[in-house]
Symmetry: C2
Subunit: 158 residues, 2 copies
């Protein structure tokens, strides 16, 4: 939704927060990760997690949900100012995804993104690639999700 040239390097941006209810944790788990500690409070308490814990893929998918909403807000603001809006390109992937601590029912998780570097793509004129770090912390500011990723963005036409 933004152009390569709009990317701010080294600025941590808040993407939003999400409270993981027991119902949402169980609904995701039933569909995609039906392990007992994601489905049942008692099983969660007896597990290493110490409570009903969200699937790691659930915490990562919520990042995507918040990112999309964040990019839509940026696009709306740009449109309101009469600026051109670009669609973001596909993601080539992720590196070093870590879940250092569990997300338990009732936790409110805040997600952040920080672009760390960018460059135009010699192989694809009009496009660039941005590298960045995504983090998520719980209400005690403890890290629960970390990964490095990259995304293709269009260059602003001059």
């Amino acid at each position: 939704m933004i152009f390569l040239e709009d990317t701010r390097i080294g600025v941590r941006q808040a993407l939003g927060s999400y409270t993981f209810t027991a119902d949402a944790i169980k609904a995701f788990a039933r569909a995609y990760d039906p392990q007992a500690f994601h489905l049942d409070e008692g099983a969660g308490e007896r597990s290493l997690f110490g409570g009903l814990a969200a699937s790691g893929w659930h915490t990562a998918s919520v990042y995507m949900k918040l990112l999309v909403a964040y990019l839509e807000t940026l696009a709306s603001e740009a449109k309101a100012c009469g600026e051109e809006v670009a669609a973001s390109g596909p993601s080539p992937g992720f590196k070093n995804l870590k879940w250092p601590r569990p997300v338990l029912a009732g936790d409110t998780i805040s997600y952040f993104y920080e672009a760390t570097s960018m460059r135009p793509l010699a192989s694809r004129p009009g496009w660039g690639i941005v590298f960045g770090t995504t983090t998520a912390v719980n209400q005690r500011d403890e890290l629960v999700l970390f990964f490095e990723n990259s995304v293709f963005l269009r260059r602003r036409s001059l």
Copy 2:
């Protein structure tokens, strides 16, 4: 569900297959990745993906779904033979997750796991760590998902 000592290094194991219907692609996207090319056939066809495309997080979450079912089958077989069954531990994370090609509506994706190395954990007696590679291919045997991951497993008590 299996012990460190049961891990077979260098053997590619089929975890199962999953057909991504348009309905399932849109349902995941509505909840977690509401971008137009994941929600609408026309928008997908006009995108770089060339069709209604599954969210990358959807293709990764389906891996988890198939892995859990696969591990439950192993556990059932072990129980049927009167063997002890261990719960698997948490995953420390993932490395180098890549989505080299899109997954489009109607594609049937087959997932595979191959353990590449393992070692007992000096820091956690009774536990070990297994490193492995997960791949997923479509019905034309084209790679659509790749990542390296690790998992903690209990050691068999001697």
